[in-house]
Symmetry: C2
Subunit: 339 residues, 2 copies
């Protein structure tokens, strides 16, 4: 079984964006604010939005299940108020739930959170519980920068986040550290802000004793861990200079990288430096990079193809990458896909 831990519903029917546009228009003119039940999307529309995209690629690439969440760039926690974020989040998560209901063999849900700048993370607990307990979701996407590129929230290792982490631990669900779009013109969303957030989160984890406080808390750092594997020596060296414990103790029981790295040399590096126990297959399909690489004739984001080119990958390691590690990090998978 091949589990892709990183997919967003980037192909949702256009009615979803129309709802969002109306919601944003309502920030200036409340009369335009749509009611939650005004969004009408049929099952057929959902099927159509997936059949020619995620489902087609699953079949073509030979993957089985995608751990699926709302479009990350559209979370845009910086827009509007906490209420804006709550309504938008609920709409988006409910749509993921419908996807998973229509295709229970192909998708399992991970939720967006109703974060908002300056709002305590514990305000996201209710939606996390609803998604996990009522909708069968198995994790969440946690935005370390709800301001959208201004980085005004405390570090992920600050006690600010602890009440939310307590709930994650209680529910036994992991979080993917995933920012959204950037309203800071310095940062291109998928080309800078995403990757910077990944790098930033890892360094925050190295500096702190977060995982002493939460020994079972688990994070997935997407996009291959940002810059971290490429600079693995730098990070080992920085930690050593700071007299931190070895990575095996400091972060490797709690932090995992996905394989969203869109060329073979990058995947080779990732598998060479990061222990295989800390790598989970992911593609972010259909996501940041949609085209075909002229150098290979294949989709940039067909990351399975790169992994399958790695020589001497043992059967055991292959299992870990494609299934075993995902089952370990997302225990909720077992309910949907018993072994």
């Amino acid at each position: 079984m091949i589990i892709d831990c990183h997919g967003h519903y980037t192909t949702a029917p256009k009615e979803l964006q129309a709802f969002r546009n109306a919601q944003i228009a309502g920030l200036d003119n409340p009369a335009l604010t749509p009611s939650l039940d005004s969004l009408k999307i049929s099952d057929d529309q959902i099927r159509e939005s997936l059949e020619g995209a995620q489902l087609k690629f699953q079949r073509q690439r030979g993957t089985d299940v995608t751990i699926f969440s709302p479009r990350a760039s559209a979370m845009a926690h910086h827009i509007g108020t906490e209420r804006t974020s709550q309504d938008w989040t609920r709409i988006c998560n409910d749509l993921i739930h419908r996807v998973c209901g229509l295709y229970p063999k192909n998708f399992v849900g991970v939720c967006q959170l109703p974060q908002s700048p300056g709002v305590p993370p514990q305000h996201s607990i209710h939606e996390l519980e609803r998604c996990v307990k009522e909708l069968g979701f198995i994790g969440c996407n946690l935005n370390p920068d709800p301001s959208g590129g201004h980085w005004t929230a405390p570090s992920l290792t600050d006690k600010h986040w602890y009440p939310f982490y307590e709930k994650m631990v209680e529910l036994d669900v992991p979080a993917m550290v995933h920012v959204s779009s950037s309203c800071n013109p310095n940062f291109h969303a998928t080309g800078a802000h995403y990757i910077n957030a990944d790098t930033t989160a890892f360094m925050q984890f190295i500096e702190s004793d977060l995982f002493k406080d939460f020994p079972t808390l688990r994070f997935i750092i997407p996009h291959g861990g940002g810059a971290v594997p490429y600079h693995w020596g730098r990070y080992r060296g920085l930690a050593q200079d700071m007299k931190r414990p070895p990575f095996s103790e400091l972060v490797l029981k709690n932090v995992y990288f996905d394989t969203c790295v869109y060329h073979l040399p990058g995947i080779e590096l990732l598998l060479k430096v990061v222990p295989v126990d800390n790598i989970i297959f992911g593609s972010e399909m259909v996501g940041a990079v949609k085209g075909i690489d002229p150098e290979t004739g294949q989709y940039f984001d067909d990351t399975k193809r790169y992994i399958d080119q790695i020589p001497h990958l043992s059967k055991e390691d292959r299992y870990k990458l494609y299934e075993g590690n995902a089952r370990k990090v997302y225990p909720g998978l077992a309910k949907h896909f018993p072994q």
Copy 2:
């Protein structure tokens, strides 16, 4: 000849930091502000600060010249006013000039700039001209985020920076894109802020037509280009999706990466994906990572050792990495080291 394009005076005599501390104390109590000529550092102190550090490592590692600039993390353009930055910058650059005067075969200068949040970049032109024309410096360090982690300045490709770029072109000197310390608690300076800035700058360049406007403008992106080489496929794919020209045309005549990547697999990746014409040897010695890698028994930042382990590196490519590309990007080198 082996030229290290990236070294900072991290070992300056303690009087320099004492001056800075007094300068910062003077922000609250102007009576404490030191005069510029109050800083007394003898030639012997300078020699001592280098003999056991940069010069020792040059000899041990077999490198010849370091392109040398003030300590990057101490630039701290966010502290105080424009005047604070002007005074501190002048002091730091003058000290680099003394280093280069004492060891003209070992060091050649690159200047810090008197940037300050909200201050137009053309205010840095005077110091750039002074350093290049009077002190014989061959480049500058340009901070894309003088706010120190709040990223309040316009993108490097914004016309905001154009007057400064015009002067760089006129003087025919490159800039290393180099942030300083971070006053945003999200970002560890050398573990997140530096690497994020590198990644951010490259994506800004991809999005814009800056190098159409300045065909001879040249930037070095340090720390191996941040996350960029590891995500080379992502960046090629993003540019393609955005219908941008191929990299050869878009950035590779103007943007160079150094080799400050502190493990062999990272250097292997860099040399595999980035054209050798765009890579310049650098180590940032003595810099971000000071320790010895227990896995190799060698200093993490001895980047020459990694390059020398790359198999099948042709003599021609080796020359480009260690000398030729530096001479191309920093034409001012020729005055100090005629071929």
